[in-house]
Structure formats: C-alpha cells, structure tokens
C-alpha cells in the first residue's frame, strides 16, 4: 500500500497513512516516482493521512514547491503544520562555510599559535611572580593550609605508588647491569651503577613524570572545571585573585613535596638494587650499605634532589596555566589536561638534559 496515489483522469493525488519520520524515505521516493509534470495543476487529497509530522511536511512542501496544487480535505492540524514548514522554508538558510586552509597556512597558523602560547605562558609566570611579591608586603596572606593540602595530596598520597615504581626500577637496573658486570667479575660495581643512576637520574625523573601524570592532570582538570563553573570569576569579584588562593599554593606545595618524595623514591630505588645484588650477585645488604658512601659521592644525591624543585615548577606552572586557559566547555578540559601532562613531561626531560650539559661543563 503506497503513501500516495495519483489518478491521471481526475488529476488527483490521494495521500494516506502515516506520514512521519519512519516513512520519510519511502514518501520521498514515492513522490519522486510519480513524475507529474511541474506545470500541471493538481488536486491533493489529504483525508486519509492518519499522522503527519514535520519531517514529512518538509518533504511534501519541498516536492510541492513551484506546483499549482490545491489541498483538499486535509485535517486542520496538518494544514497548520504544512503552513509552518512552508513559512520556515521560505527563509533560505545561509550556512557559513568553513574555510579550507592550504598546508602552508596551517603550518603558519600553528606557528603563530605556538608563539602566542609561549608569550601567554611567560605572562602567566610573570603574574605569578608578582603575586609572590605580594607575600613580602603582606606575609599573613600566605595560605598555609592550602599549601599543606597540596603537599598532602601530591606528596603523601603518592608515597605508595612512587615507592613501588622506584623499587622496581632499582630492581631492573641492578639486574640488567648485574648480568654484564658479573661477566667481567666486577660484581661490586653494581653499587656504583645503582647509586649513580638512581640518585642522579632515575629517582628524580621517574618521580617527576609520575607526579606530572598524577597531580599535574588533577590541577588542570580541577582549575578548568572551576573556570567553567565561574568559580574563578566569583573569586575575582570577591577581591581575591586566583593566583593567591589557587595557583601559588599549588606551585609552592609541589616545590616542597617533590624533593621529599624524590628522596623517598631514592630510598626505594636503592632498596630494589640491594635486593637484586643480594640474590644475583651475592652482595649482602651489609656489604652494599657499607660500600655505598665510598662508591657514591654525596653530590650525586644533592644534584638529583637539586633538580626536583625546577621539575616541580615546570609541572605546577604548566598545569595551572593549562587549567586557567580552559574555556568553552568540557571538551577543552580534556584537551588541556592532555596538553598539560604531555608538555610537563616533555619539559621535564628538556630541563634534565639542560642540567646534564651544564653540570658536565662544570665538571660535576
């Protein structure tokens, strides 16, 4: 049973049944298949239409446009609907086209955006530095409790996972190196290898990367949500700057917490080394610890720990900056959180490389 029937003799189009979204494709096809000349005046009977929705009304109006047709026996609501659709269609929608850019323009735009981003980041750092200046004028506006909360969340709560990871790193390094050293009969040098690599590089680096993923992302997502919720605006209207209340506590808290958990990571990394040394290379934990101070100079530990405040600054500033840059909805929270973690880890490694170059120039 078709939705439309055309009687050539009476020039009458009879419509029937359900004219709705579910039958839209059928209706469109049937109307096209009728092949009634455009200039032929016709009579359209709508008595048998049981249901009409705006999708069908749209299809019908499109088909009917430019024809001389007289509608008869259409139900009142259907006529109203047809009129409405006709009126809406009369306004020709102009959709603005999205311009396609050529590859060179895309590269150009990306470069300009990157430069703007850098300038924005530097301005953000500058603002934060000025905010620290405020502290010297009014020392009682330092938010100690907020800083403590940040240390608790980024430091204390991270202890188990940091311990586990650095223990395993120590274990693996000692195992891989131990196999080589054993071949040369240089078993005891595993102490040097573990001490130098864990204290100087792996401890600080692994901890910083872990914290960037754990806390950096949290900073960005939280600040971003607060921005979307207009909480940041609310703070500003109360005469408080987000810098004092939200950003500086995060930066300072992380600068305090990261060296502490790096120390913790160093301990567990060496512990991992001790375990492997004991089982694989027959070096007892007593021997290991006894030789440790001789094999590993104190400066190794200090250099390792000395890098961590800089790592903390990188993580906290990038994460806060990305959080404050969130705008236009949930999408941008996700994008900025990703960017925050990726940029933090990237710059941690860059900073680490810069440290290596400078320290080797200084013969340290």
């Amino acid at each position: 049973m078709s939705l439309v029937d055309y009687d050539v003799d009476t020039q009458t189009l009879t419509c029937r049944d359900e004219w709705d979204l579910a039958h839209l494709t059928v209706l469109q096809a049937e109307l096209q298949a009728l092949s009634i000349p455009r200039d032929m005046p016709i009579l359209i009977n709508g008595q048998a239409i049981t249901k009409m929705d705006s999708a069908a009304a749209w299809a019908f109006t499109q088909w009917q446009a430019g024809r001389t047709a007289r509608l008869v026996d259409f139900a009142e609501p259907n006529l109203i609907l047809l009129n409405l659709v006709e009126k809406e269609l009369a306004v020709k929608p102009v959709l603005s086209q999205v311009k396609k850019l050529n590859p060179i323009a895309i590269v150009g735009r990306a470069s300009v955006a990157a430069c703007k981003y850098l300038a924005d980041y530097l301005a953000f750092i500058g603002e934060l530095t000025l905010e620290i200046g405020e502290w010297f004028k009014k020392p009682n506006c330092i938010r100690w409790s907020a800083i403590a909360a940040v240390i608790y969340r980024t430091g204390y709560e991270a202890l188990p996972i940091i311990a586990l990871i650095s223990f395993m790193i120590g274990l693996v390094i000692a195992y891989q190196m131990g196999l080589e050293l054993k071949a040369y009969g240089a078993n005891v040098y595993v102490i040097n290898v573990i001490g130098l690599s864990v204290l100087r590089e792996f401890g600080p680096l692994i901890t910083a990367i872990m914290v960037a993923g754990r806390s950096g992302s949290a900073f960005t997502a939280q600040l971003g949500m607060m921005k979307l919720n207009q909480e940041i605006d609310a703070l500003q209207t109360m005469g408080l700057t987000p810098g004092q209340l939200l950003l500086l506590p995060r930066v300072i808290g992380l600068v305090i917490a990261l060296p502490l958990i790096t120390m913790w990571a160093d301990i567990f990394g060496v512990l991992g080394g001790i375990v492997t040394a004991g089982s694989l290379l027959n070096i007892s934990w007593y021997d290991f610890l006894h030789r440790f101070p001789g094999a590993v100079p104190l400066k190794t530990l200090l250099i390792g720990l000395g890098k961590t405040p800089i790592f903390a600054l990188v993580i906290a500033s990038i994460a806060s900056h990305q959080g404050m840059r969130v705008e236009l909805g949930a999408n941008s929270v996700g994008r900025n959180t990703t960017r925050s973690v990726v940029l933090s880890i990237f710059f941690i490694i860059v900073v680490d490389a810069v440290f290596s170059v400078i320290l080797s120039e200084l013969n340290l």
């Binding site: 469109q28 609907l81 306004v91 999408n331």
Partner: protein
C-alpha cells in the same frame, strides 16, 4: 485529540532516598495534547518526578504508564522505545559542548534514522529555524551562544524526532522576561502546530499563566491539586496560598 485517554498515568507512586520520603501515594494523569505544569516549593520532588517519568530514575514503588506502557520495571527495550518517542529540554540545556548546534540537533537523527546526510541537515535546520534561531547560528558551538539561544538550540534538539511528548525542566529559568516570554510563545506555537503534549517543571508565574493548560501542585509528598491556573490560585490549601501569594 482524545482527552479521555491519558498519555501519562502515574499511580500510587512512592520514592525514598534512603529513609527520606520524597513522594508517597502520588497520582497524576496527563492528557494528550495538553500543557501541564508541575509546580511546588523547593524540595517537593518536582525534578525527581520528572526524572522518573524520563526513566532516568526508578521509583521505590508505584506505576508510571507512558503511551499505555508501564515504565517501572520495564525491559531496556521497552524503555528505549518509550524514550525515543519523547523529547527533553534539561535545566542546564545539556547540549553537547564538543558539537556545533547543527551537529547537536542532527545527532538524534543520525543515531535513530537511516536518512542521508543532506536530508538530516535540512531537517535539523528546519527545527533550528522553528526554534527561532538564525541559520547562521547553526555552525556555532553552544558556548558561543547566549543563555536564551542555548535554550532554543536545546529545544530544537528536543523536537527533532517529532516526539509526541516533551518534557521541559525550568525552560525559562535564568532568562530575562523578554526572552522568557519569547520562549513561552515558541513553546505554545510548537505545541499547537506539532500537536505536542508538554510537561514542564517551572517556577515562573508568567510561564504558568501564559502557557500552562493545567497546573499540578506538588506538596506534602503528593499532588495537592491539578487545575487550570485561574482555579489553582483560588485553592485554599495553605501551601498553595503561600506559593502564589508571594509577590503577586
């Protein structure tokens, strides 16, 4: 329009959150083709009732029939079948922020129909203009629109599948009176032209007077009265008096 056959029948509905009772023995029938407003003080369970009718929450006991099908304890398939026939305008609009207005409105069509892209675009644009937005706004993201325009975009999405029934949660909350009355006129217009049944939760007296055919007053955990606005303001129940006296 058959007025004898209700589109929604709620019978003996009870809702508990833990030990807190929100509804107890609540009965309500919504007629086909009418605009029913649900009002009541804060915490009277309006939004809870709405969420239960949408199938987003399961009441503790009682029955909700929509399109003559039982919603409480219904299989997932029945639920989805009912949900496809209704449209919702959420209080916070709930427009997908990562999609443009056109994509937002097209979304139900893409998911639920097998129409070609061109047709979907035209139908979505038709609904967008019917909701009173300019076609130029179609390529914008929700965050780029004003509050009133976001409501209109959300309304366009709610009506894109030509539902028989639409739910509006505080459609005019937070809008200026001019925009609000524009939206009210739009709702009325759509209801008349598309033969919709509208269930709305609202606080705004202007909306109640302008739009609602009947008003259901929620209080003391059930429906205290259902009547046209002109009658309900004369109701002597103290809660109702308190609600309407203030500021009229």
């Amino acid at each position: 329009m058959s007025f004898e056959n209700p589109i929604i029948t709620i019978h003996n509905l009870s809702t508990y959150f833990g030990k807190d009772c929100v509804h107890q023995g609540l009965d309500l029938a919504i007629k086909r083709g009418e605009i029913l407003a649900i009002v009541g003080g804060s915490g009277s369970g309006k939004t809870t009732l709405l969420r239960e009718m949408l199938g987003l929450m399961v009441p503790s006991s009682g029955s909700i029939q929509i399109f003559n099908k039982e919603l409480v304890g219904a299989s997932k398939k029945t639920k989805v079948g009912i949900q496809q026939r209704l449209g919702v305008l959420f209080q916070q609009n709930a427009l997908f922020s990562s999609l443009t207005v056109l994509e937002n409105v097209s979304f139900p069509l893409i998911e639920h129909t097998s129409l070609d892209k061109e047709t979907i675009k035209h139908l979505a644009l038709l609904k967008i203009t019917m909701a009173g937005l300019a076609p130029a706004d179609a390529n914008k993201y929700p965050a780029e629109l004003s509050g009133g325009m976001q409501k209109r975009a959300a309304l366009a999405r709610a009506i894109v599948l030509d539902p028989e029934l639409i739910f509006l949660d505080e459609p005019t909350a937070g809008l200026d009176p001019h925009t609000a009355s524009g939206l009210n006129a739009l709702i009325l217009n759509l209801q008349r032209t598309m033969g919709l049944t509208v269930v709305m939760v609202t606080h705004e007296k202007d909306t109640l007077w302008q739009v609602a055919d009947r008003v259901a007053f929620l209080g003391e955990k059930h429906v205290l009265a259902v009547a046209p606005m002109a009658e309900i303001v004369k109701n002597q129940h103290p809660l109702i008096q308190l609600f309407f006296d203030h500021g009229t």
